[in-house]
Symmetry: C2
Subunit: 266 residues, 2 copies
């Protein structure tokens, strides 16, 4: 039972037949079936996810990870407090985020929260822009068990042929270029875009236009933090975990609220 | 039992007291103790890790993830075959790796294999260089449950104060600079350096000299693939998962062997 639950946790969103378990762990199918009923109840009780049973030939079980709304809210509140620490303010009114986005325990939770909020969407890949978005995209992709694709702002020889688009860099009003390796995204993919900090929205608009170039479709946009001070021409819907409402460089004060990620839930 | 094993899997290398479990899951300490004995046996049977019991006040259980040598070898053999695919050769004799290093199921396994091979080392952080090393470092850090730090080749405003060192770029013989945010690594850390592809070794030498600047210590070096064609002045020991022995651009052929990661094991 421990072994089966471990397998399911490590293979989310993957249909596994009872025969596979029976062979792998040398048990009768009936006893595996009973174990799965117990695991299902335990997973639902502590809200770590759902186990769905697909009947018939080609059937099996699928584990969909989840997280309870209460846990999500506690986690986001802790992050809100951390992000409000005054020593995060950098010259120019930037905020230092790298420590939060490089701690595995935080990333795992963020991944679960974002994945849960897109649970009704079919997602084939997670897209982000180098470098700071990578751990976030990686975390969400881990939970969804899909590949992630990394858009670059510079051209690297090790990426092979690339497709590029122009975008308006948010902070300045410059036009810049972003690149995506041609083989990194299959045509017809449904893509979730993830980024660390939403300012002008230019980077995300750039990634959306890349999706068109790859004949792919936008499944949604999720950001770790949204800068609500920034004026932007809104061209896409997004979900944010946190919302920065004010950065006061003079008094070294950052005001952070919970983002819109829970707005759809009751 | 399912719930406790899930907790342990998600909180590796963390000492948790039996009281914590008792409170969290509203059970008697004695029944939790019995559950842990069963989980321990199951984890060891399928070789997903060890559970160590620390007795006395401040005691509890710690889960150390592992992976069986047989599984590791199978996984590395699959990767060896994938890396040998001729369509990975890019103009200039570079190899396209990005797809392997952006698939969560592959990354999780690589993380477990690398973490296991440094199991006797105390590691406080995993270090890599942007961008391609990030998912690898993230994967290893996930297993070790420690933060990862990202060294950059360009200077970003959102990193705050940085320390920089010069290094010899492997491919060319140019001197370049790499940067690490001052607050990203605590003094006195023992650091595991992880990178995707070892060529001349200049990047890794650069990171090692950064460690000195941060009064930190090298715990080890692990690379996904090692280019054995390359001459290099060896200044550090490293473990590699794969070894590229020949890239024949004309005949579109890549020869890949298993790296030295299993050399210490019998």
């Amino acid at each position: 039972m421990v072994v089966i639950s471990n397998y399911l946790i490590n293979n989310p969103y993957k249909l596994t037949s009872l025969n596979t378990f029976a062979e792998k762990y040398e048990s009768a199918k009936s006893s595996i079936s009973e174990d799965i009923v117990i695991i299902k109840r335990a997973f639902e009780e502590i809200e770590i996810g759902h186990i769905q049973t697909v009947t018939g030939a080609g059937g099996g079980v699928i584990f969909t990870p989840s997280i309870s709304t209460q846990d999500s809210k506690e986690i986001i509140n802790e992050l809100r407090e951390k992000l409000s620490e005054s020593d995060r303010i950098l010259p120019g009114g930037y905020i230092y985020l790298s420590d939060l986005l490089s701690t595995p325990s935080i990333l795992k939770n963020i991944g679960r929260i974002i994945a849960k909020s897109f649970i009704d969407q079919k997602i084939d890949a997670v897209m982000t822009v180098a470098t700071k978005g990578v751990p976030l995209a990686n975390a969400v992709a881990n939970v969804l068990n899909v590949p992630f694709v990394i858009v670059r702002r510079d051209l690297k020889i090790t990426e092979g042929s690339t497709v590029s688009v122009n975008y308006v860099s948010g902070s300045s009003d410059r036009i810049e270029k972003m690149f995506l390796s041609k083989r990194s995204l299959k045509a017809g993919s449904r893509v979730l875009i993830v980024d660390d900090f939403l300012k002008g929205g230019g980077t995300i608009n750039g990634m959306i236009s890349l999706l068109t170039e790859f004949d792919s479709e936008l499944a949604g946009v999720a950001v770790f933090a949204d800068n609500a001070q920034e004026d932007r021409e809104q061209q896409f819907d997004y979900k944010s975990l946190l919302k920065v409402t004010n950065i006061d460089v003079k008094n070294q004060r950052i005001d952070v609220e919970v983002g819109n990620i829970f707005d759809a839930e009751k």
